[in-house]
Protein backbone atom coordinates (compact mmCIF):
# COMPACT_ATOMS: atom_id res chain seq x y z
CA UNK A 1 0.00 0.00 0.00
CA UNK A 2 1.05 3.56 -0.69
CA UNK A 3 1.30 6.19 2.01
CA UNK A 4 -0.12 9.61 1.20
CA UNK A 5 1.60 12.92 2.03
CA UNK A 6 -0.50 13.75 5.10
CA UNK A 7 0.07 10.28 6.58
CA UNK A 8 3.73 11.18 7.00
CA UNK A 9 2.96 14.68 8.28
CA UNK A 10 0.53 13.39 10.89
CA UNK A 11 2.85 10.58 12.00
CA UNK A 12 5.73 13.05 12.41
CA UNK A 13 3.54 15.57 14.22
CA UNK A 14 2.32 12.85 16.60
CA UNK A 15 5.88 11.65 17.21
CA UNK A 16 6.95 15.23 17.91
CA UNK A 17 4.13 15.78 20.37
CA UNK A 18 5.03 12.52 22.15
CA UNK A 19 8.70 13.53 22.33
CA UNK A 20 7.70 16.89 23.82
CA UNK A 21 5.51 15.14 26.40
CA UNK A 22 8.39 12.82 27.27
CA UNK A 23 10.86 15.67 27.76
CA UNK A 24 8.47 17.59 29.98
CA UNK A 25 7.71 14.45 31.99
CA UNK A 26 11.20 12.99 32.35
CA UNK A 27 13.65 15.75 31.43
CA UNK A 28 15.49 18.28 33.61
CA UNK A 29 13.23 20.76 35.38
CA UNK A 30 10.35 18.36 35.08
CA UNK A 31 9.71 17.60 38.71
CA UNK A 32 7.37 19.58 40.95
CA UNK A 33 8.72 22.38 43.13
CA UNK A 34 7.63 21.84 46.72
CA UNK A 35 7.61 23.70 49.99
CA UNK A 36 8.94 21.53 52.84
CA UNK A 37 7.78 22.53 56.31
CA UNK A 38 9.33 21.11 59.46
CA UNK A 39 8.05 21.60 62.97
CA UNK A 40 7.74 19.89 66.29
CA UNK A 41 5.09 17.46 64.99
CA UNK A 42 6.90 16.28 61.88
CA UNK A 43 7.42 17.25 58.27
CA UNK A 44 4.96 18.42 55.59
CA UNK A 45 5.35 18.77 51.84
CA UNK A 46 3.14 20.94 49.61
CA UNK A 47 3.52 21.75 45.90
CA UNK A 48 3.93 25.46 45.15
CA UNK A 49 1.41 25.10 42.34
CA UNK A 50 -1.59 25.14 44.73
CA UNK A 51 -2.33 28.05 47.09
CA UNK A 52 -2.92 27.19 50.74
CA UNK A 53 -2.22 28.25 54.32
CA UNK A 54 -0.57 25.76 56.66
CA UNK A 55 -0.36 25.95 60.45
CA UNK A 56 2.80 24.39 61.87
CA UNK A 57 2.78 23.78 65.63
CA UNK A 58 5.81 24.72 67.70
CA UNK A 59 6.62 25.12 71.43
CA UNK A 60 5.28 28.71 71.40
CA UNK A 61 2.18 28.06 69.33
CA UNK A 62 1.26 27.89 65.63
CA UNK A 63 3.34 29.46 62.86
CA UNK A 64 1.20 30.16 59.79
CA UNK A 65 2.89 29.56 56.45
CA UNK A 66 1.24 30.93 53.30
CA UNK A 67 1.79 29.35 49.88
CA UNK A 68 0.45 31.70 47.23
CA UNK A 69 1.40 32.55 43.67
CA UNK A 70 4.18 29.90 43.67
CA UNK A 71 6.00 31.53 46.57
CA UNK A 72 6.08 30.86 50.30
CA UNK A 73 6.20 33.20 53.29
CA UNK A 74 5.49 33.15 56.99
CA UNK A 75 2.51 35.40 57.71
CA UNK A 76 2.04 34.84 61.46
CA UNK A 77 4.14 33.41 64.29
CA UNK A 78 4.09 33.60 68.11
CA UNK A 79 7.81 34.52 68.31
CA UNK A 80 8.65 37.88 69.95
CA UNK A 81 10.68 39.54 67.13
CA UNK A 82 8.79 38.39 63.99
CA UNK A 83 12.01 38.32 61.96
CA UNK A 84 10.69 35.24 60.14
CA UNK A 85 7.77 37.34 58.86
CA UNK A 86 10.01 40.24 57.91
CA UNK A 87 12.20 37.88 55.86
CA UNK A 88 9.53 37.93 53.18
CA UNK A 89 8.76 35.36 50.49
CA UNK A 90 10.91 32.59 48.98
CA UNK A 91 10.28 30.88 45.65
CA UNK A 92 13.42 29.14 44.33
CA UNK A 93 14.79 25.70 45.23
CA UNK A 94 17.41 25.99 47.94
CA UNK A 95 15.92 29.06 49.63
CA UNK A 96 14.68 28.79 53.21
CA UNK A 97 12.95 30.59 56.09
CA UNK A 98 13.07 29.79 59.78
CA UNK A 99 11.35 30.77 63.00
CA UNK A 100 14.00 29.70 65.49
CA UNK A 101 12.08 30.46 68.70
CA UNK A 102 9.14 28.35 67.49
CA UNK A 103 11.39 25.71 65.84
CA UNK A 104 9.74 25.93 62.43
CA UNK A 105 11.77 25.57 59.22
CA UNK A 106 10.50 26.21 55.71
CA UNK A 107 12.47 25.38 52.56
CA UNK A 108 11.88 24.93 48.84
CA UNK A 109 12.99 21.81 47.03
CA UNK A 110 12.87 20.71 43.44
CA UNK A 111 14.86 20.83 40.22
CA UNK A 112 15.60 24.18 38.67
CA UNK A 113 14.93 24.41 34.92
CA UNK A 114 18.69 24.50 34.28
CA UNK A 115 19.03 21.04 35.86
CA UNK A 116 20.58 22.20 39.12
CA UNK A 117 19.66 20.32 42.25
CA UNK A 118 18.38 22.09 45.35
CA UNK A 119 20.83 22.45 48.20
CA UNK A 120 18.54 21.78 51.15
CA UNK A 121 20.23 19.59 53.76
CA UNK A 122 18.20 19.86 56.94
Amino acid sequence: MRLRPLDIVIALAAAGAIAFAAVSAYGPGSGPVNAVLKGRGGEWIYPLSADRDVRVAGPLGDTVVEIRGKSVRIVASPCPNKTCIAAGAIERPGQWLACLPNQVFVSIEGRRADGGVDASAY
Binding site: P32, G42, W44, Y46, P47
Partner: protein, 191 residues
Protein backbone atom coordinates in the same frame (compact mmCIF):
# COMPACT_ATOMS: atom_id res chain seq x y z
CA UNK B 1 -36.08 -10.97 39.93
CA UNK B 2 -35.45 -7.30 39.01
CA UNK B 3 -36.62 -5.67 35.79
CA UNK B 4 -33.51 -4.51 33.89
CA UNK B 5 -34.67 -0.88 33.63
CA UNK B 6 -35.51 -0.63 37.37
CA UNK B 7 -32.21 -2.18 38.38
CA UNK B 8 -30.33 0.21 36.08
CA UNK B 9 -32.24 3.22 37.44
CA UNK B 10 -31.42 2.16 41.00
CA UNK B 11 -27.78 1.72 39.98
CA UNK B 12 -27.69 5.22 38.49
CA UNK B 13 -29.21 6.73 41.65
CA UNK B 14 -26.81 4.83 43.92
CA UNK B 15 -23.85 5.88 41.73
CA UNK B 16 -24.77 9.53 42.30
CA UNK B 17 -25.04 9.04 46.08
CA UNK B 18 -21.72 7.24 46.06
CA UNK B 19 -20.07 10.08 44.15
CA UNK B 20 -21.50 12.76 46.45
CA UNK B 21 -20.33 10.98 49.62
CA UNK B 22 -17.39 12.89 51.07
CA UNK B 23 -16.55 10.76 54.10
CA UNK B 24 -13.83 8.24 53.26
CA UNK B 25 -14.99 5.87 56.01
CA UNK B 26 -18.62 5.89 54.83
CA UNK B 27 -17.54 5.48 51.22
CA UNK B 28 -15.37 2.50 52.20
CA UNK B 29 -18.37 0.94 53.93
CA UNK B 30 -20.56 1.58 50.88
CA UNK B 31 -17.85 0.01 48.72
CA UNK B 32 -18.02 -3.21 50.73
CA UNK B 33 -21.82 -3.27 50.33
CA UNK B 34 -21.46 -2.65 46.60
CA UNK B 35 -18.89 -5.47 46.30
CA UNK B 36 -21.31 -7.81 48.04
CA UNK B 37 -24.14 -6.75 45.73
CA UNK B 38 -21.99 -7.29 42.65
CA UNK B 39 -20.98 -10.71 43.91
CA UNK B 40 -24.59 -11.65 44.67
CA UNK B 41 -25.63 -10.54 41.19
CA UNK B 42 -23.63 -13.44 39.80
CA UNK B 43 -21.37 -11.28 37.67
CA UNK B 44 -17.78 -12.44 37.26
CA UNK B 45 -15.62 -10.37 39.59
CA UNK B 46 -11.86 -10.09 39.37
CA UNK B 47 -10.37 -9.19 42.74
CA UNK B 48 -6.91 -9.24 41.19
CA UNK B 49 -7.95 -6.56 38.70
CA UNK B 50 -9.60 -4.50 41.45
CA UNK B 51 -6.46 -4.64 43.59
CA UNK B 52 -4.10 -3.89 40.69
CA UNK B 53 -6.12 -0.93 39.44
CA UNK B 54 -6.60 0.46 42.96
CA UNK B 55 -2.91 0.05 43.76
CA UNK B 56 -2.05 1.83 40.51
CA UNK B 57 -4.30 4.77 41.33
CA UNK B 58 -2.93 5.06 44.89
CA UNK B 59 0.67 4.74 43.67
CA UNK B 60 0.15 7.42 41.02
CA UNK B 61 -1.23 9.80 43.62
CA UNK B 62 1.65 9.05 46.02
CA UNK B 63 4.14 10.07 43.31
CA UNK B 64 3.22 13.71 43.96
CA UNK B 65 3.83 14.22 47.72
CA UNK B 66 1.23 16.33 49.50
CA UNK B 67 0.76 16.74 53.23
CA UNK B 68 2.33 15.26 56.30
CA UNK B 69 5.22 12.87 55.69
CA UNK B 70 4.29 9.47 57.09
CA UNK B 71 7.30 7.44 55.98
CA UNK B 72 10.50 7.81 53.99
CA UNK B 73 11.65 4.98 51.70
CA UNK B 74 14.90 6.06 50.10
CA UNK B 75 14.13 9.08 47.88
CA UNK B 76 10.41 8.37 48.08
CA UNK B 77 8.25 10.06 50.72
CA UNK B 78 4.84 8.70 51.58
CA UNK B 79 2.56 11.62 52.46
CA UNK B 80 -0.79 11.62 54.22
CA UNK B 81 -2.95 13.78 51.94
CA UNK B 82 -1.66 12.08 48.81
CA UNK B 83 -2.39 8.67 50.33
CA UNK B 84 -5.93 9.59 51.41
CA UNK B 85 -6.57 11.23 48.03
CA UNK B 86 -5.38 8.12 46.21
CA UNK B 87 -7.46 5.79 48.37
CA UNK B 88 -10.51 8.04 47.86
CA UNK B 89 -10.08 8.07 44.07
CA UNK B 90 -9.52 4.31 43.95
CA UNK B 91 -12.67 3.74 46.02
CA UNK B 92 -14.68 5.96 43.67
CA UNK B 93 -13.31 4.27 40.56
CA UNK B 94 -13.81 0.68 41.70
CA UNK B 95 -17.04 1.47 43.52
CA UNK B 96 -18.65 2.79 40.35
CA UNK B 97 -17.37 -0.25 38.42
CA UNK B 98 -19.02 -2.63 40.89
CA UNK B 99 -22.27 -0.64 41.13
CA UNK B 100 -22.46 -0.99 37.37
CA UNK B 101 -21.74 -4.71 37.53
CA UNK B 102 -24.47 -5.18 40.12
CA UNK B 103 -27.09 -3.09 38.33
CA UNK B 104 -26.55 -3.57 34.58
CA UNK B 105 -28.14 -6.72 33.18
CA UNK B 106 -27.16 -7.93 29.67
CA UNK B 107 -30.85 -7.74 28.77
CA UNK B 108 -30.98 -3.98 29.39
CA UNK B 109 -32.40 -2.20 26.37
CA UNK B 110 -33.03 1.43 25.62
CA UNK B 111 -36.34 2.42 24.07
CA UNK B 112 -36.73 3.98 20.64
CA UNK B 113 -34.75 3.65 17.43
CA UNK B 114 -31.39 3.76 19.21
CA UNK B 115 -32.50 0.92 21.47
CA UNK B 116 -33.56 -1.11 18.41
CA UNK B 117 -30.18 -0.41 16.80
CA UNK B 118 -28.31 -1.65 19.86
CA UNK B 119 -30.56 -4.73 20.02
CA UNK B 120 -29.77 -5.50 16.36
CA UNK B 121 -26.07 -5.10 17.10
CA UNK B 122 -26.39 -7.65 19.90
CA UNK B 123 -28.07 -10.08 17.50
CA UNK B 124 -25.18 -9.68 15.04
CA UNK B 125 -22.73 -10.05 17.94
CA UNK B 126 -24.29 -13.39 18.89
CA UNK B 127 -23.79 -14.55 15.28
CA UNK B 128 -20.14 -13.47 15.32
CA UNK B 129 -19.51 -15.34 18.54
CA UNK B 130 -21.21 -18.46 17.13
CA UNK B 131 -19.21 -18.36 13.87
CA UNK B 132 -17.25 -21.55 13.47
CA UNK B 133 -15.10 -20.65 10.49
CA UNK B 134 -11.34 -20.30 10.95
CA UNK B 135 -9.61 -16.95 11.24
CA UNK B 136 -5.90 -17.30 10.58
CA UNK B 137 -3.35 -14.48 10.86
CA UNK B 138 -1.88 -15.40 7.45
CA UNK B 139 -5.25 -14.92 5.72
CA UNK B 140 -6.75 -12.44 8.15
CA UNK B 141 -8.38 -10.15 5.60
CA UNK B 142 -9.99 -12.95 3.61
CA UNK B 143 -11.19 -14.76 6.74
CA UNK B 144 -12.55 -11.56 8.31
CA UNK B 145 -14.32 -10.74 5.04
CA UNK B 146 -15.91 -14.19 4.91
CA UNK B 147 -17.09 -13.76 8.50
CA UNK B 148 -18.64 -10.36 7.77
CA UNK B 149 -20.44 -11.61 4.67
CA UNK B 150 -21.79 -14.67 6.47
CA UNK B 151 -22.99 -12.68 9.48
CA UNK B 152 -24.56 -10.01 7.29
CA UNK B 153 -26.31 -12.23 4.77
CA UNK B 154 -28.46 -14.13 7.26
CA UNK B 155 -31.79 -12.30 7.36
CA UNK B 156 -32.13 -10.27 10.52
CA UNK B 157 -35.30 -11.32 12.33
CA UNK B 158 -36.79 -8.72 14.68
CA UNK B 159 -35.01 -9.06 18.03
CA UNK B 160 -37.32 -11.03 20.27
CA UNK B 161 -38.35 -9.40 23.50
CA UNK B 162 -38.09 -11.64 26.54
CA UNK B 163 -41.26 -13.58 27.27
CA UNK B 164 -43.02 -12.02 30.21
CA UNK B 165 -43.62 -14.54 32.96
CA UNK B 166 -45.82 -12.25 35.01
CA UNK B 167 -44.65 -8.84 36.21
CA UNK B 168 -41.92 -8.39 38.81
CA UNK B 169 -43.24 -8.63 42.33
CA UNK B 170 -43.58 -5.54 44.53
CA UNK B 171 -40.83 -6.90 46.79
CA UNK B 172 -38.34 -6.39 43.93
CA UNK B 173 -39.20 -2.70 43.64
CA UNK B 174 -39.21 -2.33 47.43
CA UNK B 175 -35.75 -3.89 47.64
CA UNK B 176 -34.38 -1.49 45.04
CA UNK B 177 -36.01 1.51 46.73
CA UNK B 178 -34.54 0.46 50.08
CA UNK B 179 -31.07 0.14 48.55
CA UNK B 180 -31.29 3.61 47.02
CA UNK B 181 -32.55 5.07 50.30
CA UNK B 182 -29.73 3.39 52.23
CA UNK B 183 -27.21 4.95 49.87
CA UNK B 184 -28.58 8.47 50.43
CA UNK B 185 -29.15 8.38 54.21
CA UNK B 186 -25.44 8.88 55.10
CA UNK B 187 -25.43 12.08 53.01
CA UNK B 188 -27.91 13.66 55.41
CA UNK B 189 -26.49 12.46 58.69
CA UNK B 190 -24.07 15.03 60.11
CA UNK B 191 -21.27 13.50 62.24
Amino acid sequence: MFPPWALAAAGAAISAAYLFQRSLAVRALMFLCVLAAAWLSGKKLSFASTIVVSAGIVAANLLVPVGRVLAVLGPFRLTESALLDGIGKALVFEGLVHISKASILPSLRLPGRFGALVASAFVYYDRIVEYRGAIRPSTLIEDADRLMLRVWEEPLAAPSSEARRGGPRPVAYATLAAAVLAAYVPLFIKP
